[in-house]
Symmetry: C2
Subunit: 238 residues, 2 copies
Amino acid sequence: MRIDIWSDVVCPWCFIGKRRLETALSTFEHADGVEVVWHSYQLDPGAPATPVETVAEALGRKYGGGPDAGWAMIDRVEAVAAEEGMLWRHHDSLRVGTMDAHRLLHLALHEGGPALQGRVKEALLAAYFIDARNVADHDELRAIVTVAGLDAAAVDGVLRSTQYADEVWADIEQAQGFGATGVPFVVVDSKFGISGAQPAETFTQVLDRAWSESHPAVELVTTPGAGGDACGPDGCAI
Amino acid sequence: MRIDIWSDVVCPWCFIGKRRLETALSTFEHADGVEVVWHSYQLDPGAPATPVETVAEALGRKYGGGPDAGWAMIDRVEAVAAEEGMLWRHHDSLRVGTMDAHRLLHLALHEGGPALQGRVKEALLAAYFIDARNVADHDELRAIVTVAGLDAAAVDGVLRSTQYADEVWADIEQAQGFGATGVPFVVVDSKFGISGAQPAETFTQVLDRAWSESHPAVELVTTPGAGGDACGPDGCAI
């Protein structure tokens, strides 16, 4: 079973949704066969590569009320994160672009498959929300993703080029094709779309449904003798 | 897309069906993503490990008419094989058991995945039908499967033990669970069963149907806001 997740590195509900999905998977009987692939989505494509403000300041500016209002919004989402067992420092997070982080997530998928990509995704989210690190800065990015297992030379090759930018854009277009208007957007078995950080129980229900639908009794679309000769216990049709 | 095939190494329609499926796959647009896994089936579980007669003799004894009648049956199936581009020496094939061959096919799947297993399956079928080799003899088996890419030491380990016998029985039970009464029995995407060596066009139709059914538009089973918070272009629901 395959799970595709469109997500941004700076998206609070994406990190919370990731924990809720992990909770659902921890009790899912067939979790061993589940492969999770992360796809790119940019919540804030206009965010700068070099930060000029915190997320709290940006929120206060965008929605009014100043940094205090932004701070209060972050309080609320941090309280939800805490319910999922995470202590965030999101008040200190900077508003930055995520194009380079997404290109490195594609590098991880290419170099080490879903297992490596999953470690890099977790490392980037934790760096941003738990440690309030700058996930647009190249030195920071290199440090974060190499600890997660990416090769430093390959990372530098990507950061010095536009490698994997096309893959990022293709992911974003695909999300738009699904009608996704926000993230996280989870697709189970290329079939069931889950929008938002749903409760773990909702993920469990969809996992169960996807499993049962993808493992039906085999439907016999032809019968022996009807144009297709076979060999059986009584010999071969010759 | 995954194709599971229950088949026996000494089953003429299985080899013919393999060629017809390959013909269908050669024009199938999504063939690159198709993985074929071979499963065990024993047509003639009572066949001896050390041969005492040819298949022609066994057929003549079983159905009456003696070796000449068996020879005529083989003529007919060889004519069909020739239509698929294969020149067989099946008149010289010996009636032998296939338990050890099947155990080595499981070894191949375990050691090298579907790609290696596919090479070993082709080598065993070709050895039996085209070269009339004894696919129960351990020296012959070792020679056949190591040329196809299996490690000789691993092969000897399997032949000296009962390793993978449980996997062979599990395959046979699974085929019976599907209601398969003969082989080849092809299952496309765990969903569509095809019994017998159907014409290539039939395989093509089922491949097309399986592809379209497994790639529907994503069905949105939840909506943002309905219990699942998300981040979008207008910010995060906090």
